[in-house]
Amino acid sequence: MHDKLNALPMKSVRYFALAVLLAAALLGAFSGRALAQDPQPPSDDQVNAVAKELYCPVCENIPLDVCPTQACAQWRELIRLKLSQGWSEDDIRSYFAEQYGDRVLAAPPLQGFNWVFYVLLGVFAIFAVVVYIRVVRNLKAKSTAADASAIASQPAEQDDYLKRMEEELNRREKSS
């Protein structure tokens, strides 16, 4: 009886051990598949797409994608790391601005004092358009007035010329 009672749990233990081994094997197989399905690391083109929007603060006015210094190479690797972690391009740009200042950005962000530059740009653009329209209008008005005065001063001469032309044509017709 004892033996029988003891034998049953032993059997259960064996089944349990077998189940655990099977589960471990399956887990291993699936984890292997998961590793195989891991996305490719970001390509150089993906890294450079972000890098070209950023500037090196050490060697100013050189975009990060073409900057040859070691610092820039490290930054590009950091971009690669952030992209592989699933960061968006905007997130990366914000991170770089927070770390190294707005001067690393290709365009100043729309915040704080930077608004003044954008507003001024808009005002300059509007002013330029207004001036352009006015100049074009004035030029058109001038040329129209000049044409009108030219036409007004020419009809008598033109009539005389046409009249002579017609006479000449008629004369040649008759003679032929």
């Binding site: 603060p57 050490v58 210094t69 070691q70 610092a71 490290q74 930054w75 690797e77 950091l78 790391l81 601005a97 927070e98 770390q99 190294y100 200042g101 707005d102 001067r103 003044v116 530059f117 001024l120 005002v123 300059f124 002013f127 207004v130 006015r134 004035n138 001038k142 000049a146």
Partner: protein
């Protein structure tokens, strides 16, 4: 033709007069705003670096381990402020000497060393600190505020601030030896 020549100045005057007042006012306002902006920018650019003997304005640095260090916390101490970067080859020439100097002055509690990591990436910076076993507080120069305040011209650069909070000495380039660092610090402690 003569008539046209006679009329042209009159036409130009009429055109000039015909510009609406708001356009003129706006143009002047924009011009003044633009000049003011240029003025502010020039003033900022021309504001010189902190000179020897000048009180160093307070600043704060968040270290790589997240602690905040304010310059004002170190009143009465000599502050050795070192700008470095992991990509800077000359910085590595002085790293061991700076750490050794820090360890020498640590028991006295009269000197504090602060490392400011200039435009660097954190993984490389941490590797650099580990490589040279640097134990004094180090942190990134966030938004390059500290380096702009001192108007550093490159790395490495080291600023020595005396016990009164005034800039006492500036070393541009790497230190030649531990003795060089100690000579400057000892001079400030006396």
């Amino acid at each position: 033709m003569d008539q046209n020549v006679e009329n042209s100045p009159k036409t130009a005057t009429a055109e000039r007069r015909s510009l609406p007042t708001w356009v003129v006012v706006l143009a002047f306002a924009v011009l003044i705003a633009f000049l003011a902006l240029i003025g502010v920018g020039l003033r900022r650019v021309q504001a010189g670096p902190i000179v020897i003997g000048q009180k160093v304005p307070d600043f704060s640095m968040i270290s790589f381990d997240g602690q905040t260090y304010n310059l004002s916390d170190f009143e009465g101490k000599v502050v050795v402020l070192n700008f470095w970067a992991s990509w800077c080859a000359p910085c590595s020439q002085e790293a061991a000497e700076l750490e050794e100097a820090w360890r020498n002055y640590l028991p006295g509690d009269e000197v504090i060393f602060l490392g400011v990591d200039y435009t660097d990436t954190e993984p490389e910076a941490l590797s650099y600190l580990a490589k040279f076993d640097i134990t004094y507080p180090n942190g990134p120069d966030l938004r390059t505020r500290i380096s702009q305040m001192f108007r550093i011209t490159g790395v490495p650069e080291t600023y020595f601030i005396d016990q009164e909070g005034k800039l006492a000495y500036v070393k541009k380039g790497p230190f030649a030896s531990l003795a060089e660092i100690q000579a400057i610090v000892d001079g400030l402690l006396q």
